[in-house]
């Protein structure tokens, strides 16, 4: 059952060629669980992939505890250097000084070094660069969306040059006001794939926690040109050890 529900529908919806994944959530329906699932998948034993987690929201122990329940030992992966954890809760740090652009450039150089050493090693799989979350990065940059976008652009170049996967979490409701275009609109342009978590449109339910929309924006160079569906909608229920995904009404 876990295998069936544990991200199967999500995996089906996510097209293999997507390189920039933007996960949008809101207060009523947090999508952190999507990040956990993607992190678990990136580190899954068969694939041999790696991950670099830029954590602004939570400390390592938080992810470790959650992923352990999902059957993935982050501490072990960290020791074997398949997971690189950047603890950025104090980013950019008071002591370092200098402009935020420099801090972001330094952060990028650290990420790039990780990617390069990963590719130089014996690893066959893909490296996933994950940012949790971009809204906090913008806060750290004193609200300067341009600097954050520069940083993200460099991360995007990693995906095309070094075959990485970039996963970014952003809180959509922060940007819902009409104060022009923020980070969110730019991110939606950058993204190949948008995963959007929202509360149930029909109201609260005991056994459904929300609905997930997956939009494949379609890459310019498609992996499968004749690919059919681009937009997927389904419900989810978050559990201790993963999440269930199912189509509306298909649950007994």
């Amino acid at each position: 059952m876990e295998e069936y529900g544990g991200g199967d529908l999500l995996g089906e919806a996510m097209c293999a060629g997507a390189r920039v994944v933007v996960v949008e959530d809101c207060v009523e329906a947090p999508a952190a669980f999507v990040l956990h699932l993607l992190l678990k998948r990136a580190l899954a034993a068969g694939g041999g992939g790696g991950a670099a987690l830029l954590a602004l929201a939570h400390p390592f122990s938080h992810y470790d505890r959650i992923l352990r329940k999902m059957g993935c030992n982050l501490s072990m992966h960290r020791k074997s250097e398949r997971l690189h954890f950047f603890d950025l809760q104090a980013f950019p740090g008071g002591t370092r000084g200098g402009a935020i652009a420099d801090s972001l450039a330094q952060l990028y150089s650290a990420v790039q070094r990780v990617v390069e050493t990963y590719r130089a090693g014996e690893n066959a799989g893909r490296l996933t660069v994950m940012i949790d979350d971009v809204s906090l990065l913008e806060v750290a940059a004193n609200g300067s969306a341009d600097d954050v976008l520069d940083f993200l652009h460099y991360c995007v170049t990693l995906t095309s040059e070094m075959n990485c996967l970039l996963v970014v979490l952003i809180h959509e409701d922060i940007y819902s006001s009409e104060d022009g275009v923020g980070l969110l609109a730019h991110l939606r342009y950058i993204a190949d794939l948008v995963i959007k978590a929202a509360p149930l449109s029909t109201g609260l339910a005991a056994d459904v926690h929300g609905q997930l929309s997956v939009v494949n924006k379609g890459m310019l160079i498609e992996q499968r040109p004749a690919k059919g569906q681009k937009v997927w909608n389904f419900h989810f229920k978050v559990k201790e050890n993963g999440a269930d995904f199912f189509y509306p009404g298909s649950r007994h």
Partner: protein, 384 residues
């Protein structure tokens, strides 16, 4: 149509005039399609240049949003071989390292610095590392364009993808200055750019539209008019919009006439296909008539019959008496006296006075100037 726009870009500039400019615009609702349309135009312009059909010898692509490989790939798919690519296409790569961060890392690692802007192994692609410097960018574009071979004065086309990314690094004034400088440069045959209209205030995208001679808008086929894009959970219309869109082209002729063209754009494999629809004027004519079950249109015969009907006032004065009631006489009297004079009017009033008064109201008009049913306000001269 896309073809018409591409033809304009192909034919290039006339001596002493600005180069034709095409602005491709798209919004988030159909953004992959706008980008695809831009790539399509770029590939078409490049293949025209390679075939020697165009005024331009080559195309300089200023790439911000996509890696240069994407352009090369799409051009290869359009039938250009690698020989033609290296002859006719130059890509100014502002994607890989726009701010020079990577170069800094490399120089830290290797303690050696290669000069800027450094060419990569392929001579088609030139990496540009200081996008905030608009003057330098413009110089690099023109330098690249001068590199095309050809006898005499060589022209070239410029593609900018996209203005929206440039605007993150520089002000609107400097970018519009760059574009108009490029347009007036005497070696540039044509220029076209992509813009994401919803990333900017409307006035900015309007300002860039004013700089161009052609505007191609990629608009979503289906719009949720009630909720707009932001309706939670309902993205079903996106499915449709990501594979099909409306393609509106506005062409400004040299004599000032503006022509609107309308096409449908749909994804086909790696490329986009343009399906020509009837031009917009036809669309408007049809859509003005309400959709009803009976026929509101006239046939040719009905139309000519209608034109032959003599309207009531049309025969007046052609030998027959004028039958227009002027409010002063009864019709039979006017019938007998078509040439109305003041004397006749006096006679009439005399006749009325001598008649037997039986509670009738007699009204004498003050002057002939005043029309009987003047709708001027009677209280106009009151001073309250």
């Amino acid at each position: 149509m896309a073809d018409a726009a591409v033809r304009c870009l192909r034919d290039g500039r006339l001596d002493g005039e600005h180069a034709p400019a095409l602005a491709v615009e798209g919004s988030l609702q159909c953004c992959p399609l706008a980008a695809r349309a831009m790539l399509h135009v770029a590939a078409a312009v490049a293949s025209n240049a390679a075939a020697g059909k165009a005024q331009a010898r080559g195309l300089v692509v200023v790439a911000f949003d996509r890696s240069p490989e994407v352009y090369l790939d799409i051009m290869l798919r359009h039938g250009l071989d690698s020989n033609a690519l290296s002859r006719c296409v130059r890509i100014l790569d502002c994607y890989s390292d726009p701010l020079g961060w990577k170069q800094n890392i490399r120089s830290q690692q290797q303690q050696e610095n290669s000069g800027t802007p450094c060419s990569t192994n392929k001579d088609t692609i030139t990496t540009f590392r200081s996008v905030k410097d608009v003057d330098k960018l413009s110089c690099s574009i023109i330098d690249l364009g001068r590199g095309f071979e050809g006898e005499g004065k060589t022209y070239f086309s410029v593609a900018v993808d996209s203005i929206s990314s440039m605007l993150r690094h520089a002000s609107v004034q400097s970018i519009s200055g760059l574009l108009s400088n490029l347009r007036s440069h005497d070696q540039i045959s044509s220029i076209f750019w992509l813009m994401h209209s919803d990333l900017h205030e409307t006035k900015f995208s309007r300002a860039f539209e004013c700089l161009s001679t052609m505007v191609a808008c990629v608009e979503p086929e289906v719009v949720d008019s009630v909720y707009g894009e932001e309706r939670r959970g309902d993205m079903s219309f996106l499915e449709h919009n990501y594979s099909k869109a409306k393609f509106h082209v506005r062409l400004k002729r040299r004599n000032g006439r503006v022509k609107h063209l309308y096409e449908e754009l749909c994804v086909e494999g790696y490329d986009v296909k343009f399906i020509s629809a009837t031009s917009v004027s036809m669309e408007v004519n049809q859509s003005l008539l309400p959709k009803v079950q009976f026929n509101l249109e006239l046939s040719e015969k009905e139309r000519s019959d209608r034109a032959n009907v003599v309207l009531p006032f049309e025969h007046q004065g052609k030998g027959e008496p004028i039958r227009i009631y002027d409010g002063r006489r009864s019709l039979p009297e006017a019938h007998q006296d078509p040439n109305l004079t003041t004397a006749a009017l006096m006679d009439e009033t005399e006749a009325l006075k001598s008649a037997n008064p039986k509670g009738e109201i007699h009204y004498l008009r003050d002057s002939d100037d005043e029309r009987p049913d003047s709708d001027e306000d009677p209280d106009d001269d009151l001073d309250i």
